[in-house]
Point group: C2
């Protein structure tokens, strides 16, 4: 298990301390591997604990059940503190940001985690893509754009997510640019 | 089990014959009830068979596993042969059709089935919303519209599905009309 000897990862993981960060990294990596190998429905907490070399109790304490664990890892799988595009042009920034989302979800493990997140989402305030919403809000605010963030959710994030879930073979190279162009059309 | 004494349901179910149609109706109703009562992850084929009063073997033969069963039922949950809006105006027809979709997915059992369908969707050609695509194609073709069906998928169906999965409390009364208006803006 190499994660324990890695330097602390930057951002939120670092804030939880070296030992917790190592456990989180090990669990995340075990979940990704197991989801790829067996499919999301077969992944259990004891299985993840064994693969990650951590005590199952630590996982149960943090997440309670496998669905919550997968939902949470799906949320954080794109580092929320990575640098965002900053070209000075909102359309270019949104395109770069959406392109990153498309490329991320082309990875089968990332798509499988999103499917698990969708299955685990419920009637409460769970929104496994809430970090993407925060990022879009930041890009719009920084540009002083009057575009409501819900427009970006409905017309950029939602079509990407729909394709990831139901039509992953349609995640074309030019999808991000096309959706962002459409977002600005007629405004 | 009252389904066996109901008249045959119209459409695809009828084509499979009276006995099969009754079994399908019983299974569908059992799945909806169990998903509402226990959540999708807990629903198994033996449990559905018991509730529906059918032999588990019939269910295994038809669907193979619980995920495929739920994915398939999610597909057919809106009757594919119901009449579609036909006002003579494409925008009004699309709005009525999208409104029906929103109202359907406001039902918690329908939303839960869609979540299960998302979880079970894979890398093949599974598309648990393929009937909606066929309907949108029909509406566009009938009106002689040059609008590509992918625009309706990306900008009407995808935002509705995204909200159903991740933000069900945002399925507002005016969502369908807003999305269809946006679809036509700038064209």
């Amino acid at each position: 298990m190499s994660a324990t000897s890695r330097p602390a990862t930057p951002g939120p993981a670092r804030r939880t301390g070296g030992r917790s960060a190592a456990v989180l990294a090990a669990v995340r990596s075990a979940v990704e591997d197991l989801v790829s190998e067996r499919g999301i429905a077969q992944v259990t907490i004891p299985m993840v604990a064994e693969r990650a070399g951590v005590n199952p109790t630590s996982i149960y304490r943090r997440w309670g059940d496998a669905a919550s664990m997968i939902n949470d890892l799906a949320t954080y799988r794109i580092a929320p503190d990575r640098p965002l595009p900053d070209t000075g042009d909102l359309r270019a920034d949104l395109t770069g940001w959406a392109q990153e989302l498309v490329e991320h979800f082309r990875q089968p493990a990332a798509a499988a985690l999103l499917r698990g997140g969708a299955a685990a989402a419920g009637d409460g305030d769970s929104d496994c893509l809430r970090n993407r919403r925060a990022e879009a809000t930041m890009l719009l605010d920084r540009a002083g754009s009057g575009l409501p963030v819900d427009e970006v959710i409905d017309h950029v994030i939602a079509p990407v997510v729909y394709r990831v879930l139901f039509r992953p073979w349609t995640l074309d190279d030019d999808l991000a640019a096309r959706l962002v162009d459409r977002l600005f059309a007629g405004r």
